[in-house]
């Protein structure tokens, strides 16, 4: 009987290892967690950078400064299905910077140049406004400072960019350092099966 369970355990561990290797760090972390266990998550409806109703306030960067992980475990994520794919994206451009000869803001917003864009479909060289654009966030560069998130939220944007904890970076502290600092209580623990990866 003991040998049977040991073999089963070994089999499960091997299978789990295969799944983890296949899925990679973020989703893999969630797989490691047993049903019913909890993980930390950013509640966008509480986060100062993304919750509705407050405009004209500076971006909160506590997810960057308080996280114990180097460069933070939090990243800005663009939910493409909600993105307006605008020519002039306030999360990509510094929209109050001088306008260049193409009629576009001359400066980008992200201090780490983590956001890039590319035209969707055939680009119109005569008129950059004649295109939809896809906005991509490089997670190796992003440190979750929230500047793009607050610029993207309604009514200025469509709220497609939100902050997410990346579980391949998160070290799963018992008492998340960001949660202790967050003035809005936006870092919450949720059952692993409800976590957004």
């Amino acid at each position: 009987m003991t040998e049977h369970f040991t073999r089963r355990d070994l089999f499960h561990k091997a299978a789990r290892g295969t799944v983890l290797a296949t899925l990679g760090g973020g989703a893999g972390f969630l797989v490691k967690k047993a049903h019913g266990q909890v993980v930390w998550q950013v509640d966008a409806s509480r986060c100062l950078n993304s919750r509705l109703g407050e405009v004209g306030v500076p971006a909160c960067n506590l997810c960057t400064t308080e996280c114990v992980v180097s460069l933070s475990a939090v990243r800005a994520v663009n939910e493409h299905s909600r993105c307006g794919r605008c020519n002039i994206c306030p999360a990509y451009f510094n929209i109050t910077s001088a306008v260049d000869e193409r009629g576009l803001p001359s400066e980008k917003l992200c201090p780490r140049d983590a956001i890039t864009r590319r035209p969707i479909g055939k680009a119109d060289p005569e008129d950059p406004a004649n295109n939809f654009y896809e906005y991509l966030i490089d997670e190796e560069k992003c440190d979750g400072c929230g500047k793009c998130v607050i610029q993207c939220k309604e009514p200025l944007g469509l709220g497609s960019i939100v902050l997410r904890i990346r579980y391949n970076r998160c070290v799963d502290c018992n008492r998340c350092a960001i949660s202790r600092a967050c003035p809005k209580g936006a870092l919450v623990q949720v059952p692993v099966e409800r976590a957004v990866s």
Binding site: V99, N130, F132, L156, G157
Partner: protein, 273 residues
């Protein structure tokens, strides 16, 4: 040119003349009566702002317009309901394909123009509801760029359709047949002569000039037909979270702007300097 605020109509609440949850469209008729598309109702105010009557629509209403004969058109999802001035339903045009979500309605020489936010275009119908052509759709992007989710336009005395194309920071001019004639406007993040943010202006009305509203920060402005900014009508009276503020202009040049958060219609009049 300058403007001053002279009245506030409506407001959020359950009372008579107030709006419960939404205020999506406004219109002004030749006599200066104000029509509001709110909740699932049309609410009619006298020129001074006093409530005259209100009636229900079959669905939440997204736009309202008054034809020359006094008929009231209420834009909805998949249909337009047409009422007489007393609120009696005369007929309903249903077309899920061409009237996806009707966020603006206008008239030209007996034809009815409907802004369809789902199709990102203006649909032109004859007086009987027969489809004639699209406006704003014949371009590489197959429609107007409307991240805000609404199509709005005005028609001038010559039949030129002035349509907001907020993704391009322009107000475009079209013939009723759909030919693009040109545009005014450009992006600028700080100069009020330009349109700011990701996507402005959101709303347009036309009479002797072009009247627009913007979001983030919300403001109403007036442009000449050649594109010069003539006035910022108002900015700081609107709730900062406002977007898609319907705008209308009466014969006296008074400007009506619907605050979509306060659920109030702000009225401004030009002031001689």
């Amino acid at each position: 040119m300058q403007y001053r605020q002279i009245a506030v109509i409506g407001g959020k609440g359950p009372g008579p003349g107030q709006f419960a949850a939404s205020l999506r469209g406004i219109a002004v008729d030749a006599a200066g009566s104000v029509y509001a598309a709110n909740d699932s109702q049309i609410t009619l105010f006298e020129a001074g702002g006093r409530l005259r009557r209100r009636w229900s629509t079959s669905q939440p209403v997204h736009s309202v317009a008054v034809a020359g004969d006094g008929a009231v058109y209420a834009g909805q999802i998949g249909q337009i309901e047409i009422f007489d001035g007393g609120g009696k339903l005369l007929r309903t045009w249903r077309d899920e394909a061409l009237l996806g979500r009707v966020t603006a309605i206008g008239f030209f020489a007996g034809d009815v123009l409907a802004g369809d936010a789902v199709g990102r275009a203006i649909r032109r119908f004859d007086s009987g509801g027969k489809f004639r052509n699209n406006i704003g759709r014949d371009n590489p992007l197959n429609g107007l760029l409307i991240p805000n989710g609404m199509v709005d336009f005005g028609v001038d005395a010559h039949g030129v359709v002035h349509a907001a194309n907020p993704g391009k920071h322009r107000v475009e001019r079209y013939t009723p047949a759909g030919e693009l004639l040109g545009h005014i406007g450009h992006f600028h993040g700080t100069n009020p002569a330009g349109f700011g943010g990701c996507c402005n202006p959101t709303n347009v009305a036309v009479r002797d000039r072009i009247y627009v509203t913007e979001k983030a920060g919300p403001r109403a402005k007036v442009y000449s037909f050649s594109g010069e900014l003539e006035a910022v009508v108002a900015a700081d009276v609107f709730d900062a979270n406002c977007k898609n503020m319907s705008v209308a202009v009466d014969r006296g040049g008074r400007v009506y702007v619907a605050d979509t958060v306060k659920l109030a219609i702000f009225v401004f009049e030009p002031v001689a300097i």
